[in-house]
């Protein structure tokens, strides 16, 4: 270690980007020491360089902060356990400003200037879509953590993967049957009237209707709207469930006004936690959500039956039982998505080890090795749960969580099966030239 650190507020176990870097320094030091078994077979002691395309500024910054913390924690855990193929991981962070054009420039920088082995970690869909062509042209394996459907749709290229998180199409499909069987059969969808909302409008009904449900109403809300009461009369009176996917600064107002509109009666609610990711569920104005249901990618609150792997993951990334930072209870994590960074780094590790990856010349081999993966078993490397990987569409499918708000927490009431969300591949990247 590079000298003692006196942290201001925290015990030393806390992770920051800096401690991870230092951890790597330590790993490099250990490698030089004779007889260090785990590194003894490494052919090169050069670190594996992971280009982290991070939203450090721009609209994604609040989410980028947690993606960065989880990435740092995962890199630290991998390094502590001996690195990849005996080589330590080095995270090279570049800020894309949450901007697609800048994103493409960052991919180029990773390839030409930093000479990273892969690029990883992008969250916002428009940045993924803007950066993917550069990754394809530069033949740079690009592992995104965005949950968007763009990878699985086949519209990107062979170098783009999303193996660590389920895409939105599968998420939306997965919750349909359970809602029809347990919450109500007549549903009205309230959604922002643009592509994100349309994805929900178009992809939700199939599985829901197959399970006996009916969509009785569609209430699109213009994205510029900031007051919602006047749209509520459009919700049919026989509605049993309102499915809401509102996003943006108006969400809190939306919930408050919905509560004022229906009072103590009214339909049941099912929402996507995307609406309130990183927002305290006990905030004033959100009282109306009590008893309602949410999709979660991974539970925010520690569940009574949590596995040791989940507990270890939560401890490593530094979140408490409520899913907030252990150092800062008001800093609620983006827990429904950020696990994807952790799992994706382990998938890169697995693929590199399978490919016998040595350096940038082996990038094509790495793509093929990733495509040869089919399953990621639940465990410390995949605490969110088992994932089934579809090589043709470069997309993983995993289980989803449905939680109910009660007692000021989100309690998991159902875990969907992987099959609930799965769909037939609609493209085949493996047939594209490398």
């Amino acid at each position: 270690m590079t000298g003692k650190r006196t942290s201001l507020l925290l015990p030393n176990k806390n992770l920051t980007r800096r401690t991870a870097l230092k951890g790597m320094g330590a790993a490099a030091g250990l490698m030089a020491a004779p007889g260090f078994v785990r590194y003894s077979q490494a052919q090169s002691s050069e670190p594996i360089r992971i280009g982290f395309q991070a939203h450090r500024t721009g609209i994604g910054a609040a989410y980028g902060r947690w993606y960065e913390r989880v990435t740092t924690a995962a890199a630290q855990a991998i390094n502590d356990a001996g690195g990849i193929n005996g080589r330590p991981l080095e995270i090279v962070t570049e800020d894309d400003g949450t901007d697609p054009k800048r994103g493409a420039e960052v991919v180029e920088k990773f390839a030409n200037q930093h000479k990273t082995d892969v690029v990883f970690g992008t969250l916002f869909s428009h940045v993924v879509v803007g950066s993917a062509p550069a990754a394809g042209e530069l033949k740079m394996p690009y592992y995104v953590v965005s949950e968007g459907y763009h990878v699985a749709s086949g519209s990107l290229n062979r170098y783009v993967f999303q193996p660590g998180i389920t895409d939105v199409k599968a998420q939306v499909r997965a919750v349909g049957p359970w809602i029809a069987e347990n919450v109500g059969k007549k549903i009205t969808l309230v959604y922002p009237d643009y592509a994100f909302g349309h994805d929900h409008r178009d992809k939700f009904p199939e599985r829901f209707e197959a399970a006996g449900g009916t969509v009785v109403g569609l209430v699109p809300i213009p994205p510029t709207e900031t007051s919602f009461t006047r749209y509520f009369p459009q919700i049919p009176s026989d509605t049993e469930v309102i499915y809401h996917v509102m996003v943006g600064p108006g969400v809190l107002t939306f919930v408050k006004e919905l509560g004022e509109f229906y009072g103590s009666s009214g339909p049941k609610l099912f929402g996507f936690i995307d609406s309130l990711e990183a927002v305290d569920i006990n905030s004033p104005g959100l009282e109306f959500l009590d008893g309602s249901y949410f999709w979660e990618g991974m539970p925010r609150y520690l569940q009574p039956d949590a596995s040791d792997a989940v507990k270890a993951y939560r401890a490593a990334v530094g979140i408490d039982d409520n899913g907030a930072s252990v150092n800062d209870p008001k800093d609620v994590s983006t827990s429904a998505h950020m696990f994807g960074c952790w799992e994706t780094l382990y998938i890169i590790k697995e693929a590199m080890e399978a490919a016998g990856y040595q350096g940038p010349a082996d990038r094509a081999k790495l793509v093929e090795a990733t495509e040869a993966l089919t399953e990621f078993p639940e465990g410390p490397e995949h605490p969110q749960g088992l994932k089934v990987f579809s090589p043709m569409i470069h997309q993983s499918f995993g289980q989803q969580y449905i939680s109910q708000v009660s007692g000021g927490k989100l309690n998991v009431v159902h875990t969907t099966s992987i099959e609930d969300g799965m769909y037939e591949p609609e493209a085949d990247y493996t047939s594209m030239p490398l």
């Binding site: 201001l8 507020l9 920051t16 609209i59 994805d199 927002v279």
Partner: protein, 457 residues
């Protein structure tokens, strides 16, 4: 490609969402009423007490030294270290000290310090020491500058530099990129060094170098005043304006541009502006997609603000039947914009100051991201929750409102005193300010609206 599905839309629900739940309408109304009422009260009061208040001085200390060269060199040394960190340190703008120190500590924080304590930039100016050394070395230390800066330029070059700076901050996609920022700042330093060597430190820093011009204006508000080198006085905020002459037109425009820049910083993020430029506020496309509309927007806000201000002065001059030249009146009354500019600056950057200030604290301990811990803060965990949630939103909103309303109240007071200086009698002064008072009420409401309306950018 874009039809590939939007995926998650993570438009941020927090922070501004909580502000939207607050009764902000009352604040807008109350702020407007307070500013209007203060104007009414002032018009009924004889102006002498205000003038006396502004002239009051309380000696508080004798400063031990006055040597700008030493502090200038120290400042320059720190700046060189920051350049090196920008060029060779972390690529992450939240780990590299250069963008954090420049944008957050210096531009946001230091501006407030200057507004409170006076023109410390006089000491920290990184050209003074180096330029004196160069001039002494070539034997020109005591001689007149090589060239004289043409009078007709006025503050025109400073306006160009301030616009470029504002554009880089608000419109350019990557102002936080550490390496790029280092090169920009190195180029800026060299450019100004050349200007100072050619035209003299005094002429160049009072009319061209943007920070010197800006801090010189902002510091007029500071309640501390230094007289004859080392005597320190406590003044009423803005009291130092009692001997301020009318600003020339170009300097007036510079000050208005400074206010326009921070106003546009707020405006460009609102649903209103995004809607106006055809951007879905829930699906902000990133800065690179809105460079043209935002460049035009910055220019338009500047032109609009300058136009409305001059119009208000012109109308007031007509109402009061005054004979003073319009340029003299506008040039003097524009000083009353300083507290508004400072209040906007505080309110708009408060959140950034709280969060990025913490990142800066961590980054300066490990400037090259190689494991140093120079000040023991390298492992500092950034408390992002400081601005999150309902309570924080309530506290921050109230601080912002207090600053905006307080800044405008002070502006009305200063305008009153300045108008009295121009008019010579209370009735004329009051009449001449009527349109300006309307403008200030309007700008109070605008400022509070910017801070409470939904944002997506």
């Amino acid at each position: 490609m874009l039809a590939a599905g939007a995926g998650p839309a993570f438009a941020h629900a927090a922070d501004r969402g909580f502000v939207m739940l607050l009764p902000t309408g009352y604040y807008l109304f109350g702020g407007a009423a307070a500013v209007a009422l203060s104007f009414a009260i002032l018009t009924l009061m004889p102006p002498e007490p205000v003038t006396r208040l502004l002239r009051a001085k309380l000696r508080v200390a004798q400063l031990p030294f006055d040597d700008r060269a030493i502090t200038s060199w120290l400042s320059f040394a720190v700046i060189v270290l920051l350049w090196l960190a920008g060029l060779f340190g972390s690529r992450d703008p939240l780990s590299n000290p250069l963008p954090l120190v420049f944008w957050t500590v210096f531009w946001v924080g230091f501006t407030l310090v200057v507004g409170l304590f006076g023109n410390l930039w006089r000491w920290l100016d990184p050209w003074y020491g180096p330029s004196r050394l160069i001039l002494r070395t070539i034997g020109r230390a005591d001689r007149a500058p090589l060239f004289s800066l043409p009078k007709r330029f006025g503050h025109g070059l400073a306006i160009v530099l301030l616009f470029a700076f504002g554009w880089f901050e608000l419109v350019y996609p990557a102002p936080d990129d550490p390496e790029l920022l280092a090169w920009v700042l190195i180029a800026y330093w060299l450019l100004n060094l050349a200007g100072i060597l050619a035209f003299g430190h005094e002429a160049w820093t009072s009319r061209v170098e943007l920070f010197s011009v800006f801090f010189g204006m902002i510091s007029r508000l500071a309640p501390l005043q230094r007289v004859d080198g080392n005597r320190l006085f406590l003044r009423f905020p803005g009291g130092k304006l009692d001997d301020a002459g009318p600003l020339p037109v170009s300097a007036m425009l510079f000050l208005l541009l400074a206010l326009a820049t921070v106003s546009f910083d707020g405006l460009m993020r609102t649903f209103f502006w995004l809607g106006l430029t055809g951007v879905n506020p829930l699906e902000y496309p990133g800065r690179s997609a809105v460079m043209l509309p935002n460049t035009l927007g910055l220019l338009a806000v500047f032109a609009g603000l300058a136009g409305v201000f001059v119009l208000a002065v012109w109308l007031g001059r007509r109402f009061a039947g005054m004979r003073n030249p319009l340029t003299e009146m506008a040039g003097l009354l524009v000083w009353s914009i300083v507290p508004i500019a400072l209040a906007y600056h505080f309110s708009h950057y408060l959140g950034a100051l709280i969060i990025n200030g913490q990142y800066a604290l961590a980054a300066i301990s490990d400037p090259l991201a190689n494991g140093w811990n120079l000040f023991g803060t390298a492992g500092y965990h950034v408390v992002a929750g400081a601005t999150a949630g309902y309570e924080s939103a309530w506290i921050i909103w109230n601080l912002q409102s207090a600053a905006i309303i307080g800044g405008h109240l002070l502006a009305v007071l200063l305008a009153h005193a300045l108008a009295f200086r121009l008019a010579g009698d209370a009735r004329t002064a009051a009449l001449s300010q009527l349109p300006l008072a309307f403008l200030m009420v309007g700008y109070t409401v605008f400022g509070l609206w910017l801070l409470s309306s939904p944002t997506g950018g």
